[in-house]
């Protein structure tokens, strides 16, 4: 059980939510509640005094195309976003998370803003150069204010938010759902588990964009890796040896690929990978190599 006495607040608007946060010291925003419930139940140090439920805020439940973008509320459940299918890559990524019953509770905003290091929903949004709409609580006489910024600007391993800042929605440019995409997810054993590696890839013209979760203790996207992948992908037509082989072939990396950078250089550019009770870094490298190859093949 959760042994604390917790105030439950259920505002109708974003302004009320951030005002409630100002009035209740130590308040937490409550979306799906899966992490809060577990942490509050199991961790003595987890301070839970007030929950501000954001699921009734209309703005955080928006799920529509308007103003040239697809706007997705932060309080939408992963099941609802996936069912909407307006952004197929996002739907595919979300369907990989947890199981259906849990996805009915998990929210888009919660997946990005939570404590768990995977935050897989961030991958398609980072690739799409989505923007994020938040509201920052007022201070003294200064009223609360909304901010819309590129997600990549405030996503450094995790969402970097000001105290009390509440995520309301994400805005995906309408061309993003049209790009060829690829998604793979590998776990230690069964499907319902945290990922060892989740990859998401899109092709924008000739440029490859790549993001990965699970490989590091945070979701990862970098321009340098995108450039290397784009280069390797471009080389594919000119040199059969160098074309990204299929995952099933499991052959050694072709020497030409390595000579020109290729897969080893891409892996190196990802930096040291995570090793934990689920898998070694070495195994994650192998999975990444397989999935990058498979992803590029999908995008060819």
């Amino acid at each position: 059980m959760i042994a604390a006495d917790v105030s439950y607040l259920c505002p109708d608007t974003a302004e009320e939510a951030v005002d409630a946060w100002r009035r209740h010291a130590g308040a937490r925003y409550l979306a799906g509640g899966t992490e809060i419930a577990t942490a509050a139940r199991r961790t003595a140090a987890f301070d839970l005094r007030a929950c501000i439920d954001i699921k009734r805020i209309a703005e955080a439940n928006v799920h529509e195309i308007c103003g040239g973008c697809l706007r997705l509320g932060a309080a939408l459940s992963l099941s609802d976003v996936a069912a909407g299918d307006a952004f197929p890559l996002l739907g595919a990524v979300l369907r990989g998370i947890a199981d259906r019953t849990v996805r009915n509770r998990l929210t888009l905003g919660g997946n990005l803003a939570g404590l768990l290091p995977y935050r897989e929903a961030a991958l398609p949004l980072l690739l799409a150069d989505a923007s994020i709409l938040t509201i920052v609580p007022g201070k003294g006489e200064i009223p609360s204010a909304r901010q819309e910024r590129p997600l990549r600007e405030i996503f450094d391993k995790r969402l970097v938010l000001a105290p009390g800042e509440l995520v309301l929605s994400f805005c995906v440019p309408l061309d993003a759902p049209e790009w060829p995409w690829s998604h793979y997810r590998r776990t230690r054993t069964g499907e319902v588990d945290y990922p060892l590696v989740t990859t998401a890839m899109v092709r924008v013209g000739d440029a490859i964009r790549f993001a990965v979760a699970g490989a590091h203790p945070y979701p990862f996207r970098s321009d340098a890796v995108d450039a290397l992948l784009t280069e390797w992908f471009a080389a594919r037509g000119t040199d059969e040896e160098n074309s990204p082989p299929s995952a099933a072939q499991n052959g050694p990396d072709s020497p030409t690929a390595q000579g020109r950078g290729g897969l080893e250089a891409i892996i190196a550019a990802l930096g040291p990978l995570r090793a934990d009770a689920r898998a070694s870094a070495e195994y994650r490298v192998q999975l990444l190599k397989n999935l990058i190859r498979a992803g590029l093949e999908d995008l060819a």
């Binding site: 230690r188 069964g190 195994y283």
Partner: protein, 778 residues
């Protein structure tokens, strides 16, 4: 013969609607006013000296009635076969998750908040991470007081070491057999301890009455064992203890021993007149309460060039964790069945139960047989490979048959099941002889098959008993009372069918009492060892026979015939030669009333008893004896698909054929076997604790401890052979656990074939398979 027999049909079980609707009441659904709630502090370390426990702040917290530590009961030791466990850690902790302190409060929130004020200072000690480490010279001795522990004679601990029990089996002349052998193989294998992950976490609610009686409600498989063991641990006679158990939400052996009851009882005795509830969270259930043992095993086989086994030299090292619990008998059961279902004339086996600093181990589905089977099947595979022999042919050649001597020297009797027939059915299902066992698919994935044989005997006391009472209602229907717990297995449904068959009546005229209460139910050893339908079934049949005699006696008077000329069937008692002369049962079972009001007879109460006959213990030096009642034999096989790119493994199909004597309820029988096979797949491919270097569990929650899920399962094929068990009711024998036993063996064989390397550890995760492939590619 009964023309309306239900045996072999699959009626809907009577508890199904309540289970499906979620309205069945389990133990923790009993909410009594005035119940005191508890919160337990668990050790974060696997091995440490407790230097200081600060409880004053917690004791002063609001709503708190008391804070207790191991020092509160300096002399109490709890155990099943050997009393080695204090109710709360005393002086040191021996595993991650060991209970160290408990807060009792008016409500759960008060207890939890106060628990956070309890401060413990530990001095870490080196932690033992495997039996071999624990047996190495210089290893810390986890139980220096081992010599002083009370125990039963069958358990042979070795004080001054970490050996909690050693069972020796010596048969024939193994040295000579190895000298004469054409081929000798030696196999080692291992897996870590794990957990049952029953759906219902364990709970005990105790109340100490003003009359000096202790009442316990518990999610237990063994209410009578709990009463008996509590009596011994507390020094209180059984007559002052009552244990009640309703249906439980899965046990798989994890609720067969004594668990939360002693601490709940000790706390209740501090607060007479108030129930005290001790309930596990999921995490406590995983870590703190006992799980299943780990194993390190070495099996050496000697054989002739044609594959005939000549001898075996076997060492099982069971990882018991910090305490002995049921594990000392699990290791003994593994010794009794150590060869698997093969005729091995010469044998030397040492099966050890070894203390380590892992979570402690209790009974688990298969009870030593899944462990021994994994070890012997791996060795049989090595032998088949060495001889370049089909692994199924090697098993067939050595399959145990009637007249062969088991490891303990007693012969397989006329009830011996037909293992060759089981093997043949699995071979056929897998197209074993028609297709290659390893095929590379066009997409690069590798499909491979594996086959194994298994056996299991119940590991039970020589005097395992079951009682049954049959009484009747005004409508002539019968109610059977037994000590069997409904654990999901459906034994009550099977008993209902046996009674209806014996009374030759409709199923809906028989009811089986669901709750067991040691004050009211007839004595029954425990709902474990796949013995309920066999033993309680025997008792139930005797109870029916006893009731029929009483019915005949009452009815003979008004029917004006001799009692022995009467038959009971179809809800009537009638003259055998003249069936038109009858009385409906409702006019007899509570006594017969004449038209003028005179009455004779009285309520019929059928009494049935069963106790295992002719069983013995083991000779401590040779293991000779007859400790087993019956053997269930069977074969299992799988087809797996492995992706060489990353080692991902999928079980495509799984087959099991076993000789169960007689199938009473095919759907429930299949359900038991399929459930056991699923559990065996999880055991082999994903389950088991992961430890860090200090033996702290890394996957102590269901976020991290992964079991098989619906949707990850293969196509199941289940088939039964029916060689009658003559002393079993209608010829049946046990089948509840057995489906798990052969799974690690056939999965390991198939996966080894797929990756091209001998696999000797569980779980076989994709990463493990991938690494093996990398190694063998080098």
């Amino acid at each position: 013969m009964n023309p309306a027999s239900h045996l072999g049909t699959s009626p809907i079980r009577t508890d199904a609607p309540a289970k499906v609707r979620g309205t069945l009441r389990y133990t923790d659904d009993l909410i009594r006013p005035g119940t005191l709630q508890t919160a337990v502090l668990f050790s974060p370390l696997a091995h440490a000296e407790i230097q200081k426990i600060e409880t004053a702040a917690a004791a002063a917290a609001p709503g708190v009635r008391g804070v207790f530590t191991g020092a509160d009961w300096p002399d109490v030791l709890i155990g099943l076969y050997m009393g080695d466990k204090p109710p709360l850690a005393r002086g040191k902790v021996r595993y991650h998750g060991e209970p160290v302190a408990v807060v009792v409060a008016d409500d759960e929130a008060c207890a939890l908040n106060a628990l956070r004020l309890v401060k413990v200072e530990y001095a870490p000690l080196p932690a033992l991470g495997s039996p071999r480490e624990a047996l190495a010279p210089g290893a810390p001795i986890l139980h220096p007081e081992l010599a002083t522990y009370a125990k039963i004679p069958d358990i042979l601990p070795e004080p001054g070491t970490n050996v909690a029990n050693r069972t020796k089996i010596r048969k024939g002349d193994p040295a000579q057999a190895f000298a004469a052998a054409d081929v000798v193989v030696e196999s080692e294998c291992a897996f870590p301890p794990g957990n049952h992950v029953a759906m219902e976490p364990r709970v005990a609610i105790a109340e100490y009455g003003a009359d000096g009686r202790l009442e316990i409600d518990s999610s237990t498989q063994s209410p009578f064992e709990v009463r008996n063991l509590l009596a011994r641990a507390l020094g209180m006679p059984e007559r002052r203890i009552v244990v009640r158990a309703g249906p439980i939400g899965g046990g798989f052996g994890g609720k067969a021993g004594i668990m939360l009851e002693p601490l709940a009882a000790l706390l209740a005795m501090r607060f007479p007149g108030r129930p005290v509830r001790l309930a596990n969270t999921r995490e406590a259930d995983l870590l703190s309460s006992p799980g299943r043992p780990g194993l390190q095993a070495r099996v050496k086989l000697a054989a002739r060039a044609d594959g005939t086994l000549l001898g075996a030299d076997i060492e099982f090292l069971f990882d018991s964790g910090g305490y002995a619990d049921y594990a000392v008998n699990v290791s003994r059961a593994a010794a009794i069945s150590c060869t698997g279902p093969y005729n091995v004339p010469n044998l030397k086996t040492d099966s050890l139960c070894v203390y380590t600093n892992h979570p402690f181990a209790t009974a688990f589905r298969g009870f030593g047989h899944i462990e021994l089977s994994y070890a012997t099947e791996r060795a049989m595979d090595l032998l088949a490979e060495r001889l370049q022999m089909d692994p199924a042919d090697l098993r067939l050649k050595n399959a145990i048959r009637r007249g062969d001597l088991t490891p303990t020297g007693a012969p397989m009797d006329e009830n011996t099941g037909d293992l060759p027939a089981c093997l043949a059915r699995v071979r056929k299902r897998l197209a074993w002889d028609a297709q290659p066992h390893r095929v590379v698919q066009p997409d690069g994935k590798i499909r491979a098959k594996g086959i194994s044989c298994f056996w299991k005997a119940p590991a039970i006391p020589t005097f395992t008993d079951a009682g049954a009472v049959l009484y009747f209602a005004e409508d002539g229907s019968a109610t059977l009372g037994t000590g069997v717990i409904e654990i999901g297995q459906g034994a009550h449904e099977g008993l209902r069918m046996l009674v209806a068959e014996a009374l030759q009546t409709d199923l809906d005229r028989v009811h089986v009492t669901r709750a067991v209460d040691t004050d009211r139910s007839p004595h029954d050893w425990a709902t474990a060892a796949s013995r309920s339908l066999f033993m309680a079934g025997r008792a139930a049949l005797e109870a029916v026979a006893d009731a029929v005699v009483q019915i005949q006696r009452t009815a003979a008077v008004p029917l004006q015939c001799r009692p022995e000329d009467l038959d009971v069937a179809g809800g009537r008692v009638f003259v055998r030669a003249e069936p038109a002369r009858f009385l409906p049962l409702e006019k007899v079972v509570l006594g017969y009333v004449y038209p003028n009001g005179n009455a004779i007879g009285g309520p019929v109460v059928g009494r049935g008893r069963y106790i295992t006959p002719d069983l013995t213990g083991l000779d401590p030096d040779t293991g000779a004896g007859k400790p087993w009642l019956e053997w269930t034999l069977g074969a299992e096989g799988v087809e797996v698909e492995v992706d060489p790119a990353d080692g991902a493994i999928r079980v495509l199909q799984a087959a099991c054929a076993m000789d169960v004597g007689k199938v009473v309820h095919p759907a429930l029988a299949r359900g038991q076997v399929v459930g056991a096979m699923a559990m065996g797949i999880g055991y082999s491919l994903c389950e088991g604790f992961v430890f860090d270097a200090r033996q702290v569990v890394q996957n102590g929650s269901l976020r991290d401890y992964k079991i098989l899920r619906y949707g990850e399962e293969p196509d199941y094929f289940v088939d039964f052979v029916e060689t009658p068990q003559h002393d079993g009711p209608y010829g049946l024998r046990g089948l509840g656990e057995q489906g798990i036993v052969g799974m690690p063996g056939c999965l390991s064989q198939a996966a080894s074939l797929a990756v091209g390397a001998h696999l000797a550890e569980l779980p076989m995760t994709p990463e493990v398979l991938w690494k093996k492939m990398q190694e063998s590619a080098r």
